[in-house]
């Protein structure tokens, strides 16, 4: 308890920068992670689409 009282005296109420830092970091990481996952998802979907198209084109001239 004496620690807490000491802290109270020492602590300026303006420790807002720390609060800001913690929230900024968390939100930034969430967004970056979501962006990373959705972008990879899109890339993969694009590749699948390209492969499909290539396969269809390959199939038509051959005339199965």
């Amino acid at each position: 308890m004496p620690d807490l009282i000491a802290l109270q005296i020492e602590l300026p109420s303006s420790n807002l920068p720390w609060l800001f830092a913690a929230f900024a970091v968390s939100w930034a990481v969430f967004f970056l992670y979501v962006i990373y996952v959705t972008r990879r998802q899109q890339e993969m979907q694009n590749q699948i689409r390209q492969l499909r198209r290539a396969m269809e084109q390959q199939e038509t001239p051959e005339g199965d």
Partner: protein, 266 residues
């Protein structure tokens, strides 16, 4: 050309999204878009949560505004633990059932668990600096969390270094099981470690019992929010893994078809 016919079937599953429509969030092709709905709900919850943390929760008398980190830090830590529990359960299920979905669940949970626990550690350090005047103290709880982080980073490493996807799955399951068992053991052994503070004195969890009612409900709401976020992220990550698997399947059958074509001679 028998190989290529198999690939054609799932085409309808991948809806070609040319333009974003808000209604797609809720229904796609007449089916309810579970992930979209969850994203919507999670987004709303996150915003409400921010309101709760900054407007509803009272300012801590002793620590001041910095105490509000608590409403992010504690749920992050607890939810990451939920994620690792999911890794453990999914790993056991994979060992017995050998179904890819369990492995995907384990992989997704582990990755997001690592993201969450990293954030829990970082927000904890940001909390500790003004309150304890040190970025880090070797308290049992912090030490356990750091070891947890190391174990699941090792989990992700073992997967990415494995020689094949099936080996990655089984090695991951091994690490998922032994890692979680170890976490419990580490927790106790570190508790009894005499070299450090036995219990966190000013730590966030030490005074949970003395939390006032509003603070407690804000904390509970925040936990709910992060649980929703965890679920959404896991689903998103599993969908990505599905696409990865699909792409691998197409590549594989293309290569097989090419090889079959090559044998008769072009």
């Amino acid at each position: 050309m028998a190989g290529t016919e198999e690939i054609q079937q799932p085409t309808s599953e991948i809806a070609f999204q040319s333009k974003f429509r808000w209604s797609d969030m809720i229904r796609v092709d007449g089916r309810i878009n579970l992930r979209g709905c969850l994203l919507l709900v999670t987004g709303i919850l996150m915003l409400v949560n921010l309101y709760m943390i900054f407007m509803v929760a009272p300012t801590d008398a002793v620590l001041g505004h910095v105490q509000r980190i608590f409403y992010f830090h504690v749920p992050l830590a607890i939810v990451s633990f939920v994620a690792f529990l999911a890794v453990f359960i999914a790993s056991i299920a994979y060992v017995f059932r050998r179904e890819t979905k369990w492995d995907n669940l384990a992989h997704a949970s582990a990755e997001i668990g690592v993201v969450f626990i990293t954030l829990a550690l970082v927000t904890g350090m940001i909390w500790a600096k003004p309150v304890w005047n040190a970025w880090w103290l070797w308290t049992p709880r912090l030490t356990t969390t750091l070891i947890l982080w190391l174990i699941y980073v090792a989990y992700l490493m073992i997967r990415s270094y494995a020689p094949s996807p099936s080996k990655a799955a089984i090695y991951g399951a091994a690490m998922g099981i032994i890692g979680f068992a170890d976490v419990v053991v580490v927790y106790f052994s570190v508790q009894w470690w005499p070299g450090i503070h036995p219990t966190p004195v000013v730590g966030p969890l030490a005074d949970t019992g003395s939390l006032d009612g509003t603070m407690r409900s804000v904390l509970l709401f925040s936990m709910l929010t992060f649980l929703a976020l965890l679920t959404y992220l896991i689903m998103e990550r599993m969908a990505l893994q599905d696409t990865v698997d699909q792409l691998r399947g197409i590549r594989f059958s293309l290569r097989r078809a090419a090889r079959q074509d090559a044998i008769p001679g072009d």
